[in-house]
């Protein structure tokens, strides 16, 4: 311990005791008091919090197998690790505090850090010009698709078998959602990861391919540029209102070329952690939603990344690993893969602005109108009184058309705007914003009707062929209330389920 204490002398104003105090206050809850990655609830997270006693770090500027530099550690603590439970700390801790806690982290593995400091590899500058096409060719030559899939959606042939150093299941990054890259999503971040690999995971370093002159350094940059190009230029922001534009003719199938020109809206979904069994490791993290109507029917296309078309026997191994790793969460996972699921929930009575149902599939007092889709594929229309409590309605009129390709589901739902059952089935009126929420689950990851990912309420607004002024006003109004809803989901997830349904459901607090 004496050596550990000494090292703090170099951190400036803060002492050893400070690093430890900061750690115990802010970090030990996840990383454990002894740094072994075994804090409260650690077992429910995927990936698990880092075990600092091994000194194996993912995000480094050092060669594969080497310890990180102090700067590497500092940076990751500052910015956090997107797509995981690891938060950013720069808004809470000062630079000196972060420096002190980083020194303290190293004391959990004194042997690893006792030698000379690790050397960062030299990172040059990205070559100019458009190298995306080259990058794609090299991506294929290097066989990145074996893990990441041809389109980069984490559905490679080896994906179901991947595990980290601890035997926990690990997904290859979805290269089309680079805002979740652990180490940042700039071209030079990506290039650095290709040089160093992510230690402790199956993601290898590609340094040797350059050293063996299989590819040039420039080509590795091109791969990084190509990977970067697979995601939207900007991280998508969710907008509260999905616009259903008017169309002459509705595309009936998911791969109809007409969808390419329809505006798409990103709807993030998060693990369902309110109703039991809770789920902290959702496979789906967002949906792209597009809508059109032709004055008679509404067509909704929902697209989401899911590396498995469940059930699929090649994912049995994955499910086995999931159930072993996530044992502590409200009971065992299913032993068999179910189908993939999507539930589209609608307010039963969209005109009653003040009474939106509880966002987890409504409840007994205030059920939602729902389309329950599963990957058989089929869709049922009914009402839901809380997640998984679904009652089919007779004479459903919603139809579905589903397509699975390259790690992505695309499902088109079509329904007449009018409905004969006016109590349980909302009419999709033009010029009105109709509340909508989503639930998604991946059967191959042990997800089902309750373990899965949920969204808060959004709205679908059906265009009317009138001047834009009329269109803008309700959108602004809905945006306001839905924006509030987003906040409330977060709060509800913190506080656990609000008790009453109609008068204190989180969506109604104002």
């Amino acid at each position: 311990m004496a050596a550990a204490l000494l090292s703090f002398a170099t951190t400036g104003k803060l002492s050893a005791q400070d690093g430890k105090t900061i750690y115990n206050k802010w970090c030990s809850g996840c990383h454990g008091e002894t740094g072994a990655g075994d804090g409260v609830g650690a077992k429910t997270m995927l990936p698990h919090p880092r075990d600092f006693t091994k000194a194996v770090y993912k995000i480094r500027t050092t060669a594969s197998g080497e310890i990180p530099t102090d700067d590497d550690l500092r940076r990751i603590v500052e910015v956090g690790m997107p797509g995981t439970a690891m938060p950013e700390w720069k808004s809470r801790l000062s630079a000196a505090e972060i420096g002190a806690v980083v020194q303290y982290l190293k004391t959990f593995s004194p042997n690893s850090f006792k030698g000379a400091a690790a050397k960062a590899i030299a990172i040059g500058k990205a070559p100019g010009g458009d190298g995306v096409a080259d990058g794609k060719a090299v991506f294929q030559k290097l066989e990145c698709y074996k893990c990441h899939g041809l389109a980069g959606r984490a559905d490679g042939k080896s994906a179901p078998t991947l595990k980290d150093d601890y035997g926990n299941p690990i997904r290859p990054a979805d290269l089309t959602e680079n805002w979740k890259f652990r180490g940042g999503n700039s071209v030079s971040d990506i290039y650095t990861r290709l040089r160093t690999g992510l230690d402790g995971t199956p993601m290898p370093s590609f340094q040797d391919a350059v050293e063996n002159k299989l590819i040039t350094d420039e080509q590795l940059w091109r791969v990084a540029q190509y990977v970067h190009s697979l995601s939207p230029e900007k991280t998508p922001e969710s907008r509260e209102v999905v616009r259903a534009a008017l169309a002459q003719k509705l595309p009936a199938t998911p791969d109809d070329a007409a969808w390419a020109t329809v505006e798409r809206f990103w709807i993030p979904v998060v693990g369902q952690i309110i109703a039991k069994p809770r789920w902290f490791a959702p496979a789906v993290d967002g949906l792209w939603v597009q809508a059109l109507h032709d004055g008679r029917s509404l067509a909704l296309r929902v697209s989401w990344d899911d590396p498995s078309k469940s059930p699929d026997p090649i994912w049995d191994e994955w499910l086995g690993r999931m159930s072993k790793t996530l044992t502590d969460v409200d009971g065992p996972l299913a032993t068999q893969q179910g189908p993939d699921r999507l539930v589209v929930q609608w307010a039963q009575n969209p005109s009653d602005e003040s009474k939106r149902p509880y966002f987890l599939g409504g409840d007994t007092k205030s059920p939602v109108y729902a389309w329950r889709w599963s990957s058989e594929p089929k869709v049922e229309e009914g009402s839901e009184a809380g997640l998984g409590h679904f009652t089919a309605l007779p004479n459903g009129s919603v139809t579905q058309s589903a397509r699975y390709a390259d790690g992505q589901w695309q499902v088109v739902f079509t329904r007449p705007l009018a409905s004969s059952d006016t109590t349980k089935v909302p009419r999709f009126g033009e010029g009105r914003a109709i509340p909508i929420a989503f639930y998604a689950a991946d059967g191959s990851s042990g997800e089902d009707e309750v373990r899965g990912a949920v969204s808060t309420w959004y709205a679908v607004y059906l265009d009317v062929p009138t001047p834009t002024r009329v269109f803008v006003a309700p959108i602004a109004m809905i945006a306001l209330s839905a924006g509030l809803g987003m906040l409330l989901v977060t709060r509800a997830q913190k506080n656990g389920r609000a008790n009453g349904a109609t008068d204190s459901s989180p969506m109604e607090e104002r």
């Binding site: 194996v56 197998g65 066989e143 074996k146 893990c147 370093s205 040797d208 391919a209 299989l214």
Partner: protein, 263 residues
């Protein structure tokens, strides 16, 4: 000063086809492989050596579990190297003898004796399996990792004591060198692209180790006279040990018997 690990490579080739059109475990072989360096006067290798030998046979009783079939259909470049469906050679059993047991001197080598690394060992990836699967290396010794398959392999070391690494070889003909800094028996190596690929390297501070051949025999040569704890490790059946005293120029026998796992 040449290491005789070439024998190990040839042995592995014999047992698993090494990518040739061989279908399995009928290629004969004797003698196993050894990590011991034939010394000429105890020069460059540093620590003391001698001319004593510990050799023996690994016996096997009971029924060996069937080695799991490997589905290589996703990798035609590898699948095409086999005439019959490949299996994962966890148990190399023939006529009551057990191959692929790593036998090594665990204690008895003078404390502080330093053996510098000799010529590099090569581990080859061929037919989407490692050759050899079980081998030893001296601390600091270069391990040459070679890809004979025209597919992407990554090579991930998952040690407990040493630092691991995870590197990739996306093409045939690539070689990489890695070393381990501390003794550790065994360091698992794995490929994540092909989840069935496993190898184990025993890292020791000295060259007194061997891997049993298909006939179960092994031989640890060039030992100085002394009393040694000899351990025998099998990837599924665990570790056994015995103590042997050898005088200069002597050859002593240390046989081991492993039994198949209880059903």
């Amino acid at each position: 000063m040449r290491r005789v690990m070439l024998g190990a490579v040839a042995l592995a080739a014999g047992i698993w086809g090494c990518g040739g059109k061989s279908s399995g475990s009928d290629a004969g072989n004797t003698g196993g492989s050894t990590g011991a360096v034939p010394q000429s006067g105890g020069g460059g290798a540093g620590g003391p050596t001698g001319n004593a030998t510990v050799s023996g046979v690994i016996h096997f009783t009971g029924t060996a579990p069937t080695n799991p079939k490997i589905d290589m259909s996703q990798e035609s470049a590898c699948a095409g190297k086999y005439t019959s469906p490949p299996t994962d050679p966890q148990y190399v059993v023939k006529d009551g003898k057990l191959g692929n047991v790593f036998v090594y001197v665990d204690s008895g080598v003078p404390n502080g004796a330093k053996y510098s690394a000799a010529a590099a060992d090569t581990i080859d990836q061929n037919g989407c399996l490692y050759h050899p699967r079980i081998f030893g290396a001296v601390v600091g010794e270069d391990i040459v990792i070679k890809n004979s398959d025209n597919v992407l392999h990554n090579i991930k070391a998952v040690p407990k004591v040493n630092r691991g690494f995870n590197i990739s070889q996306p093409s045939a003909g690539m070689t990489s060198k890695r070393t381990f800094a501390s003794p550790e028996v065994m360091v698992p190596l794995e490929c994540n692209v092909h989840g069935w690929m496993h190898a184990y390297v025993g890292v020791l501070p000295h060259p007194f180790f061997a891997t049993s051949g298909e006939d179960g025999s092994f031989s640890i040569k060039n030992l100085p006279a002394g009393t040694y704890t000899i351990k025998a490790w099998h990837e599924k059946l665990g570790t056994q040990q015995t103590t042997v005293t050898v005088g200069a120029g002597e050859t002593k026998t240390a046989d081991f018997t492993f039994s198949g796992p209880k059903a």
